[in-house]
């Protein structure tokens, strides 16, 4: 698929390359389509063929140097109880009786399905998980913090944790025998399978094989390749003769790839950072301005009140002054009048004296 070979200019390159780069659909995740690594491997588990011999479990244990189990792998009574992956078992085979105990059992596998878009990788905040070109979802224990968000995220409930370890507990899960795949070897379980219940090939071939088996034996298989679309597709695919929910597979997971579940929320992050400061500063500026206006109005009111009072006081003062002036004038007039009267009196008395002296 050539679409998977699509090239994207980096943001720096795009800035320089201009419109040619913008013409490519590199602006958002939603318009893109990623097909995964073209030649990556895949495995088909056919529960119609599986005989429940547990040799895959034994091989898995051996090639991964896992601790020896309490009961040996040839003890098939282990299958009587429902088991799940654990820190010391990367995969388990479970026995189901979908058609009642009187009919032969059907076996199901529980183990990492090596999603094309792994939820664990999307959830990991140190990028400990990686979808490798071999199709293996690998785990890097040297960076793992142990937050266990991958376990929350995984829809298949696969990753397990070494809760018992004190110093350096790790996540453990099927590795798809990544080191063996790189050497060109088959995964341990596939190599050990005595029937064709486990088949390895490229994903395209495996899906074609699965569909061919359904086409040839429509009576044996239900028409569904589990993992072709589930959670955006997985590198482990399953065939079954009974509904998958009866052999331990959830059918309500949906087809949306894990990274798409969170892409909306993640996309909101930079928008908040880009616009919140603008909005908040705007509100701040508005409230500050309102405060300033209120302050100015208050000051104006005070100033007005003061000047009004001043004017009144001045008016009072001039009135007082005028009154004082009038009073003063009156007083002066009075004094002059009195002085004149006094002078007249004196003159009169002086005249009398003169006439007495003359006579």
């Amino acid at each position: 698929m050539s679409i998977s070979r699509r090239r994207f200019l980096s943001w720096m390159g795009a800035a320089g390359a201009g419109t040619a780069a913008l013409a490519r659909p590199g602006h958002s995740a939603t318009t893109q389509h990623f097909e995964g690594y073209a030649d990556a491997g895949a495995v088909l588990f056919d529960s119609v063929i599986c005989i429940g011999c547990r040799r895959c479990e034994a091989a898995c244990n051996r090639v991964n140097d896992l601790p020896a189990p309490e009961r040996p792998f040839d003890d098939l009574t282990v299958l009587d109880e429902r088991r799940r992956t654990h820190w010391d078992s990367y995969m388990v085979i479970n026995k189901y009786y979908p058609n009642g105990k009187e009919n032969p059992p059907v076996y199901g596998r529980m183990g990492c399905n090596h999603c094309l878009e792994p939820a664990c990788a999307s959830a990991c905040f140190v990028r400990a998980f990686d979808k490798a070109p071999t199709a293996a979802v690998t785990y890097d224990e040297t960076v793992c913090v142990g937050c266990r968000y991958c376990m929350v995220a995984c829809p298949f409930e696969i990753p397990t944790y070494e809760y018992h370890k004190v110093i350096s507990p790790r996540i453990s899960k099927c590795t798809f025998c990544h080191p063996r795949l790189e050497k060109g070897l088959l995964p341990g379980c596939v190599e050990a399978c005595p029937t064709e219940a486990l088949t390895f090939g490229t994903r395209e071939d495996i899906i074609a094989t699965a569909k061919e088996r359904i086409r040839r034996h429509p009576d044996r298989y239900i028409d569904h390749v589990y993992g072709e679309k589930e959670m955006g597709g997985t590198s482990w695919l399953y065939l079954s003769g009974v509904p998958f929910s009866q052999v331990g597979k959830r059918e309500d997971l949906g087809y949306i790839a894990a990274p798409k579940l969170t892409s909306g929320a993640l996309a909101a992050v930079p928008i908040v950072v880009g616009l919140w400061p603008v909005l908040l500063t705007g509100i701040y500026a508005v409230s500050k301005r309102r405060e300033k206006i209120a302050k100015e109005e208050k000051e104006n009111a005070v100033a007005q009140a003061i000047s009004a009072e001043k004017a009144e006081a001045e008016a009072n003062l001039t009135q007082e002054k005028e009154k004082a002036k009038k009073d003063k004038e009156a007083a002066v007039e009075k004094a002059v009048k009195k002085a004149l009267e006094d002078a007249a009196k004196e003159a009169e008395e002086a005249g009398k004296k003169d006439s007495e002296e003359e006579s």
Partner: protein
Amino acid sequence: MEHDFYTLQDFMTYTKGVVYILLPLILIGFVGFWRFLSAQDREE
């Protein structure tokens, strides 16, 4: 600088990584630009 992306996961890791580099620059830029914008208010 050209990149091949085979999975959405890798593409998002890359683009979100670029965005996380931009975010602190944006925040610091806002502070600087606001100071530039309201320099006259401060002088008053």
